[in-house]
């Protein structure tokens, strides 16, 4: 199947190094300490951050730093066919772990000992690149909550189809079977860009 036309246009009319339209809002969830909605094209993700607050499970409490927890889930209606098991499956657990490790590396956890920071991310519309949209939304939500961080983390996916490297894959390009990678970058505090995560699907 042709993903890049001879003129160099992708299925949705983008150039290979062109990203989808980005949209972000903060403060949507009034009850949460911080929240954000992030859209990358048709992928829409909402993140809510609670914390720093008292650790609920005292056995996990750390006396020198904050505990960061993350839960990724996809709404039943986020994909074309209604999803049976939105969270608890292996993919959600893996993505939750990846987001947690990424954000934990950036949060100044030593400033908030004996406390817990909860990051909840839910995919409302999935059209490829949900992992990246979740990291971007989580970064905004953490900043909205006023949690001290080393840096801003941004993320995007990339792949390789029809001998062309492509930026920001949508669902059709993602499921085409070519290699793809999601990269998280710490923007400002590194002299050269450094990556925090890079799983190859």
């Amino acid at each position: 199947m042709e993903f890049v036309s001879p003129e160099g246009l992708r299925l949705d009319g983008r150039r290979p190094t062109e990203m989808r339209q980005l949209r972000a809002e903060i403060g949507n969830v009034a009850k949460a300490d911080g929240s954000a909605v992030f859209e990358m094209g048709n992928t829409k993700v909402i993140a809510a951050v609670y914390g720093p607050r008292e650790v609920q499970n005292k056995s996990q409490q750390m006396s020198d730093q904050a505990l960061v927890r993350c839960e990724y889930s996809m709404a039943n209606f986020s994909t074309g066919d209604r999803m049976r098991k939105p969270k608890g499956d292996r993919r959600s657990t893996e993505i939750s772990l990846v987001i947690r490790q990424t954000m934990e590396a950036c949060i100044l956890t030593h400033l908030m000992p004996r406390s817990q920071i909860d990051i909840f991310v839910q995919v409302l519309q999935a059209d490829g690149g949900t992992r990246s949209a979740c990291i971007n939304a989580a970064t905004l939500a953490l900043q909205d909550a006023g949690i001290p961080m080393r840096d801003i983390v941004t993320s995007c996916s990339a792949g390789y189809l029809n001998s062309t490297p492509l930026l920001d894959l949508n669902y059709v390009e993602d499921s085409a079977g070519g290699p793809d990678v999601t990269v998280g970058l710490r923007l400002l505090s590194c002299g050269t860009y450094g990556y925090t995560l890079g799983p190859m699907d």
Binding site: S63, G146, R150, D151, L188
Partner: protein, 146 residues
């Protein structure tokens, strides 16, 4: 401390605020050890505070004030107002509602031990005669619980 005129500069985490040799990192800023630069750690307005004239360290302090005020956190030595929830033979559990004059956003729980209720005859304290669930007490925080 004298505050310089506010320039309404908005900063985000990771922005360089200066060198550690020239400025001190206040609230909302941190020093990166590997290159000695001071970065912002919050999103908000940047303020530069001049140092007091008699201090040995004459570096200005940079701080970033976020848009959301965090609730206060009780620490050893702070005076808190709490509501008693459970009374047992040797201690009473209480939920802290205010730290100093500010109310907390998130509930903190603590305990009042039998030996901390009064200064004299501390072994003869009867917790059930001293407290009832629902009582409001003003207390001073002794320590964190492990």
């Amino acid at each position: 401390m004298v505050v310089k005129e506010e320039e309404m500069v908005l900063v985000t985490p990771g922005e360089v605020l200066g060198k550690a040799t020239e400025v001190k990192a206040g609230k909302g800023a941190y020093v990166a050890k590997h290159n000695g630069l001071v970065y912002a750690s919050l999103t908000g307005l940047l303020r530069t505070l001049s140092p007091p004239p008699d201090s040995p360290d004459q570096r200005a302090t940079v701080e970033v004030t976020g848009h959301k005020a965090h609730g206060p956190v009780p620490e050893p030595g702070s005076v808190v107002i709490a509501r008693v929830t459970k009374v047992m033979t040797r201690m009473a559990s209480a939920d802290i509602m205010c730290v100093g004059a500010k109310s907390v956003r998130e509930k903190f729980s603590g305990i009042i031990r039998q030996q901390d209720v009064r200064a004299t005859e501390i072994d003869k304290v009867d917790m059930h005669l001293s407290f009832r669930p629902g009582d409001i007490v003003r207390a001073s925080v002794v320590s964190f619980m492990l």
